[in-house]
């Protein structure tokens, strides 16, 4: 039987060979690869953990902080990360990602996810083009309508871009549990590849209707605010991690929180943001070990709710 060559795998291996930054020749063991899940519409598999950029990468013109962000990205890629999420709403974050990608030699397996965030639909293409230049990518892998803003105008334009081969996937985002009713209608009526919503140990509203609908309609789900912008971890840090967390290879609350999210079968990728190299490694590693099953997920919720 001849195996069809997997273009992503080829791209991945090719870039790994070509980009010494990704795997430094230190003789260290290769980090464990994160588990992946397929995007239903394209079949492409992406790692269960990605990287957000809200606040953490908005460092302005600070060259030391830009280099620190590039270091976070380097470790993200080194540990098998692919999807980076940003938005024109995030101050200098897109520019900082562009700086990192330039410095690191833009890995071909990068999965660039950005957004369009402007109330006038006619200005969408200009904003997208500006974002693309800031990232320094030939085209985006995913463009999402940010917070449903002017979605009636932006979505047709994004579908056109996709049809013309200038974009690979189309999506829409919301967060904090806002406007789920409207999102549900859009998911039911539009040929979306992705939705991005908030889901974590505390905010589980998406489980009720959005996740089943995403599975039914074949829509990939990106989960934002996995740590409620750090507030969830601050709260959990006051308590000891239960000993049974070791059964799912958890060594920290961050991994506990992430494993809970990515073990939901409707979730394609969670996108925690961080300024720290140790944190990005910890987050990536949460997609590498065992994941909780249904019973364990129930136990996790019950435990956290008791704290």
């Amino acid at each position: 039987m001849t195996r069809k060559p997997n273009p992503i795998r080829r791209r991945l291996l090719g870039t790994l060979a070509a980009a010494p930054f990704v795997l430094p020749s230190t003789g260290l063991a290769q980090p464990a690869r994160p588990a992946t899940r397929a995007i239903p519409s394209s079949g492409e598999a992406i790692p269960l953990v990605g990287l957000g950029s809200w606040i953490t990468f908005n460092v302005g013109n600070d060259s030391a902080a830009r280099d620190a962000s590039a270091e976070v990205m380097r470790n993200f890629f080194l540990h098998g990360g692919r999807l980076i999420d940003s938005s024109p709403m995030y101050g200098s974050s897109q520019e900082v990602i562009g700086h990192g990608l330039k410095k690191l030699g833009r890995p071909a397996y990068l999965f660039s996810a950005d957004k369009v965030w402007i109330s006038d639909g006619d200005e969408g293409p200009t904003q997208i083009e500006q974002s693309r230049r800031l990232w320094g990518v030939p085209r985006f892998d995913l463009l999402q309508v940010h917070n449903l803003l002017a979605w009636e105008e932006h979505l047709p334009a994004l579908f056109d871009m996709k049809a013309a081969g200038r974009l690979r996937h189309v999506g829409i985002t919301t967060s904090h549990g806002r406007r789920h009713g409207e999102l549900e209608k859009i998911m039911a009526s539009q040929p979306l590849d992705f939705v991005q919503i908030t889901y974590n140990l505390h905010d589980r509203e998406a489980e009720r209707r959005l996740f089943p609908l995403a599975r039914e309609r074949g829509i990939a789900v990106i989960v934002n605010r996995p740590f409620r912008q750090g507030e969830l971890l601050d709260r959990l840090a006051r308590h000891r991690l239960p000993a049974w967390a070791a059964e799912i290879d958890c060594t920290s609350w961050a991994q506990f929180a992430l494993k809970f999210i990515i073990s939901h079968p409707a979730v394609t990728c969670a996108i925690p943001a961080t300024t720290r190299v140790d944190h990005v490694i910890e987050n990536m590693n949460s997609a590498a070990g065992r994941l909780p099953d249904q019973a364990m997920r129930a136990r996790m919720i019950a435990y956290v709710e008791r704290l």
């Binding site: 606040i55 953490t56 908005n58 460092v59 302005g60 013109n61 600070d62 902080a65 995030y90 101050g91 200098s92 917070n147 449903l148 803003l149 904090h176 806002r178 406007r179 300024t275």
Partner: protein
């Protein structure tokens, strides 16, 4: 943004406290030793103001105008706008304040009488902005390199201006102070969103300045009425 009411101020904060305070460090380092010079300028300004004559006041107020223009361009426009999209609007507001302050310098009838209360309060506020406010970060474990200095950073510049306005011309206060007062609120809100313990300082001082200015306006009015 729809459902805007469901957003709290903290949801809208675009940067971390580290990034915010780092802006002052980068600004001070880039322009060093200008922070020392603007501090010196502040001391000279205070000296000239308290000497009282119209002629000595003009160069002092001119220096204040320069500080507002400088903060508008070098801080808000060149630096802060990179992490806060509202930076451009702040730059514009600071430039407008500089123009308004020019009005104080323009030849015309000068106030004959500024009550002692405002002179003292104005002087105290100016001294606080110049000497104490830059040290507020030290108490929270930040380095002196991140000090917010008069003439370089918006907060002490706005506070010192409120002091100068109380000191110089109580009745012009209501025309010239709104931008400084508004800035005190914006700065306080930013610090609150960042959970900074000193978030209340700027709004509180703004409130005090308003109370004193209100007292001063009534006193001035009653003095004028008395002399009629």
């Amino acid at each position: 943004m729809s459902e805007w009411w469901s957003y709290s101020l903290r949801d809208l904060l675009l940067f971390s406290p580290q990034t915010y305070y780092r802006q002052f460090e980068l600004h001070n380092t880039e322009w060093w030793p200008l922070p020392l010079l603007t501090l010196g300028l502040g001391v000279a300004l205070l000296f000239l103001l308290q000497r009282g004559g119209v002629r000595t006041r003009r160069p002092a107020l001119m220096a204040l105008v320069f500080c507002w223009v400088w903060v508008a361009w070098a801080f808000h426009w060149q630096r802060y706008a990179a992490i806060n999209p509202a930076g451009g609007y702040f730059a514009l507001a600071f430039a407008i304040e500089a123009l308004l302050l020019l009005w104080l310098i323009a030849p015309g009838p000068q106030p004959e009488f500024v009550p002692k209360l405002h002179r003292r309060a104005g002087m105290g506020l100016f001294l606080y902005a110049l000497l104490l406010h830059p040290l507020i970060g030290l108490a929270q474990g930040r380095s002196l390199a991140q000090a917010e200095v008069f003439g370089m950073a918006p907060d002490p510049t706005a506070l010192a201006t409120l002091g100068a306005l109380l000191f110089v011309r109580a009745r012009a206060f209501w025309l010239l102070a709104p931008i400084s007062l508004l800035w005190c609120l914006i700065s306080g809100a930013t610090l609150w969103a960042m959970k900074a313990p000193d978030f209340f300082v700027m709004p509180l001082i703004a409130l005090l300045a308003i109370v004193i200015a209100t007292a001063s306006t009534t006193t001035v009015q009653s003095c004028i009425d008395l002399h009629r």
